[in-house]
């Protein structure tokens, strides 16, 4: 509802964004730092149009937490986010975060182990949002959880 824009803050924005000395309150049409830096233009447009005002902030927190986790462990880290569609269901858009790093996988088990750690990070971010939003907004968190995936590939 215009005029009653709920304001949320990406929990990591204050520490990871450029204005790290002040807390930034982000409104519906102001996308947070990591999203503007790491999301493809089409995704940015989608986020600007989205009725889910939490989506950019959840995505921002995910990108921030994933960056921290990966940069602590690997040398060559690249990540970004985009939308992906299925030609059989073109109105459905999935947000895919692609992560490239020098993982040095020995086998599938090693790869699955890394992926599971990454999924744990995603779960933690989603859980924190679930806890902090008003109960009316829990469905928006669930929607974000359903459409954001993290995919990894070796650098």
């Amino acid at each position: 509802m215009e005029g009653e824009i709920k304001k949320y803050e990406s929990s990591s924005y204050a520490t990871a964004g450029p204005e790290n000395s002040t807390k930034s309150v982000i409104t519906r049409h102001q996308l947070p730092y990591h999203v503007t830096r790491l999301a493809e233009n089409e995704l940015i447009q989608k986020l600007m149009r989205s009725d889910n005002d939490l989506l950019p902030h959840i995505l921002n927190d995910l990108l921030t937490q994933l960056s921290i986790f990966l940069e602590d462990r690997y040398e060559l880290v690249h990540l970004g986010a985009r939308t992906l569609r299925d030609p059989e269901e073109p109105e459905w858009e999935v947000i895919v975060i692609i992560v490239n790093a020098d993982f040095g996988f020995e086998d599938f088990e090693h790869r699955f182990e890394v992926e599971d750690k990454i999924e744990k990070i995603v779960e933690n971010v989603i859980d924190k949002w679930r806890e902090k939003v008003h109960k009316d907004d829990v469905t928006k968190v669930k929607e974000a959880n359903a459409i954001i995936s993290v995919i990894i590939d070796e650098t």
Partner: protein
């Protein structure tokens, strides 16, 4: 009398197919495996979650992701490899992410090759293992 097909048979069939030597058409084999492994997981999820048989990809993905992200992650990988198998005829096909200047900042490459087919099988096995537990 009606019979019900068990979608897990797609995975068993894929494993047999993987071992089969077609000598000069392995890419068709790997693409078939990638496609069938996704549908094995997708159809099994529909059954196990009590969804209607015509449930969309979106509906299944939504349900699975909100049930368990580890499960959802396997379904997403299988979905992407199926997209590659069914629609990306030129390989390797990079799914790229570009910044505003057009530079690639991250990418996932779809290959439709032996390694990817083996991965699809491993992911479908994991999907069933998690689903059954």
């Amino acid at each position: 009398m009606k019979r019900k097909f068990d979608p897990r048979r797609f995975l068993e069939f894929s494993k047999e197919l993987f071992q089969t030597d077609f000598s000069n058409d392995d890419e068709a084999k790997y693409r078939t495996i990638n496609g069938r492994c996704y549908y094995a997981a997708f159809l099994y999820a529909i059954e196990q979650l009590g969804l209607e048989p015509e449930a969309t990809h979106r509906k299944v993905q939504d349900k699975v992701m909100n049930l368990d992200r580890k499960l959802g992650k396997e379904l997403t990988y299988l979905w992407i490899y199926r997209l590659g198998a069914d629609y990306y005829l030129e390989t390797p096909a990079p799914i790229t992410i570009r910044d505003r200047e057009g530079a690639v900042i991250a990418e996932k490459t779809i290959r439709c090759n032996e390694e990817e087919a083996r991965e699809s099988i491993a992911r479908a096995e994991r999907f069933f293992k998690f689903m059954e537990s």
